[in-house]
């Protein structure tokens, strides 16, 4: 549906009813009620075009890629490499060889820790992470620091869930080799000022990795403008399939790195005396990849581009404001993570009611939220809660669904009155 948005002068606004038609899973009932899917931070739903891309691949041109001379193999290779270019354009990377296909954000971070980290860290060096990180952006660095006798430093956060930037500045020194920080916190919803973080890290020649698992689906990205060394995101949170993710790395930097996993594809020649490694990005892509997954991620990027990233953002921002306001009306409800700059994620606790019980009762109303520590136990400890309930918004959620969430919370309060 087209129309002129008077306030922004933008040609298209998102029509959520139309968009929802594209997502077959949304039209089902759960426990006799319409599904209200608010667990998008855990994984997003897939549009028909993404599902079809997978089916079409396996029905018509499934073949192993990169060195076949037959027709199907060439077709599969083309589609896969086209998806790489789509990811390049999404991130505004300067070359498609700067895009590495991985399994997930978690694998991307492990890759960087084990290549860049292993190569550059010396005993006494330091790696900086933040207090709001997901376990996947903590544990690989802990493991690396242990291996290399390096120190892990943590940027603290305030009670609103914002990074204390003065403390961050104080943490940086000549021994800092890596700064690894999330773009948007999966537990708190905080959007971090990563441009600033990157700029300050560069004063000390530290490399910066941005965990974009939540960032990529909700923000417009430009890795050249950001100037980060690495940016990682997951396909399945970007309306694509599970089992595929993207690691962006600066070309010259990737060229200098040793390989990650060894095996086929990442080599140029193999003999028992000597093996030589392939060029970037193939050097970091050992074995047969998730070909269907990569191609389908390309379809997801196409879908998002067709809707328009700015239209998505406008719609989500408005819905998020409504959801925050609606939930804030409950005096027994406390939102965990109240940064000035937030997106999509509403973590909350209800007075004297455990998240698990909240989640079970909401489920009975057809509402899917996540309850627990969200792979961010340090965040739970920081806010002194055992767990939170987390609702996370995507562009196919509606105001009516937020109302159902609110009604569900009312029901929880009644059960425990």
């Amino acid at each position: 549906m087209t129309g002129v948005d008077q306030s922004q002068g933008r040609e298209r606004r998102l029509n959520v009813e139309e968009v929802r038609q594209d997502f077959p899973i949304l039209s089902q009932q759960v426990n006799g009620k319409p599904l209200v899917y608010l667990d998008n931070a855990a994984t997003a739903q897939k549009p028909r075009s993404v599902i079809d891309a997978i089916t079409h691949y396996y029905e018509s041109y499934n073949s192993n890629i990169h060195r076949g001379v037959h027709h199907l193999s060439q077709k599969a290779t083309e589609a896969y490499e086209q998806a790489r270019v789509k990811a390049q354009r999404l991130l505004n990377a300067s070359e498609s060889r700067e895009i590495i296909f991985v399994r997930s954000t978690t694998e991307a971070i492990n890759l960087v820790a084990q290549t860049y980290g292993r190569k550059h860290l010396r005993p006494g060096d330091e790696v900086v992470v933040s207090a709001m990180e997901h376990h996947s952006n903590i544990v690989p660095w802990q493991q690396l620091c242990q291996e290399k006798e390096a120190k892990l430093r943590v940027i603290p956060i305030n009670d609103k869930g914002e990074l204390l930037l003065e403390e961050y500045e104080n943490l940086l020194n000549e021994r800092t080799r890596v700064v690894a920080v999330t773009h948007i916190s999966n537990a708190l919803g905080t959007i971090n000022p990563i441009e600033q973080i990157i700029e300050q890290a560069h004063r000390y020649d530290a490399a910066v990795l941005i965990d974009g698992a939540q960032g990529a689906p909700h923000l417009t990205l430009d890795v050249q403008a950001l100037d980060c060394e690495f940016y990682a995101f997951s396909g399945h949170k970007f309306y694509g399939p599970t089992g595929v993710g993207i690691l962006y790395g600066k070309g010259a930097l990737l060229d200098s790195l040793p390989p990650y996993q060894g095996g086929g594809e990442m080599i140029l020649s193999v003999s028992f005396e000597k093996t030589t490694y392939n060029v970037v990005p193939h050097r970091f892509e050992a074995g047969t990849p998730n070909i269907a997954g990569g191609i389908a991620l390309g379809a997801a990027i196409d879908y998002v581009n067709q809707l328009g990233l700015e239209n998505i953002k406008d719609y989500e921002d408005e819905l998020f404001r409504y959801a925050t306001e609606r939930l804030s009306r409950f005096p027994e409800l406390k939102i965990i993570g109240t940064a000035e700059d937030k997106a999509s994620i509403l973590s909350f606790v209800l007075k004297d009611i455990h998240a698990h019980d909240v989640g079970t009762i909401l489920d009975q109303e057809g509402v899917a939220v996540r309850t627990g520590h969200h792979c961010a136990q340090p965040v739970m400890d920081r806010f002194e809660v055992p767990a939170t309930s987390r609702a996370s918004i995507a562009f196919y959620n509606t105001r009516e669904e937020i109302d159902v969430l609110a009604q569900g919370i009312q029901k929880v309060l009644e059960v425990f009155k």
Binding site: H354, A355, H356, Q364, M380, P386, V415, F416
Partner: protein, 147 residues
């Protein structure tokens, strides 16, 4: 909604809001910690055993309504029982919450947990404190996890 009432029964809600035997036991001779890493439920069980009989039992911890109510009712059921009786009670409770069978089994108020069998995700909430109690009886000092 009646489906939900199967889980959040009066008895369970009552015990979760006002748990019985919710304190440390100063003269305990058996203790164990239990932890459910999936949701953060934590419980410590204190037992005072005398000649194979559970003379006294209590618990501390923080967790969801199901785990708290289960702990409260466990302490009530197990007090005064022999080791063997406590073990048997655990087995029958597990059957109750996993497969929904009560077997005419003299579970008393514990039957309130029959509904848990329809919410498989919550079974570990109900059984955590029982596993912890068993660990306390067996070894004296041990940590138990649901994983």
């Amino acid at each position: 909604m009646s489906f939900l009432k199967d889980l959040y029964q009066e008895v369970i809600l009552d015990h979760s809001k006002s748990p019985r035997n919710f304190s440390e036991l100063s003269d305990a001779n058996r203790t164990a910690d239990g932890y459910n890493p999936l949701c953060g439920d934590k419980v410590t069980v204190f037992l005072k055993l005398k000649d194979d009989v559970v003379e006294d039992v209590s618990f501390t911890g923080a967790g969801c309504a199901i785990s708290t109510a289960s702990a409260s009712l466990m302490t009530q059921s197990v007090k005064g029982k022999t080791l063997l009786e406590a073990k048997e009670l655990f087995r029958r409770f597990q059957d109750l919450v996993t497969s929904g069978t009560a077997e005419g089994a003299e579970l008393g108020e514990l039957e309130a947990f029959l509904g848990v069998s329809q919410f498989p995700v919550r079974v570990k909430c109900a059984t955590l404190v029982w596993h912890t109690m068993q660990a306390a009886l067996k070894n004296g000092e041990e940590s138990v996890s649901t994983e």
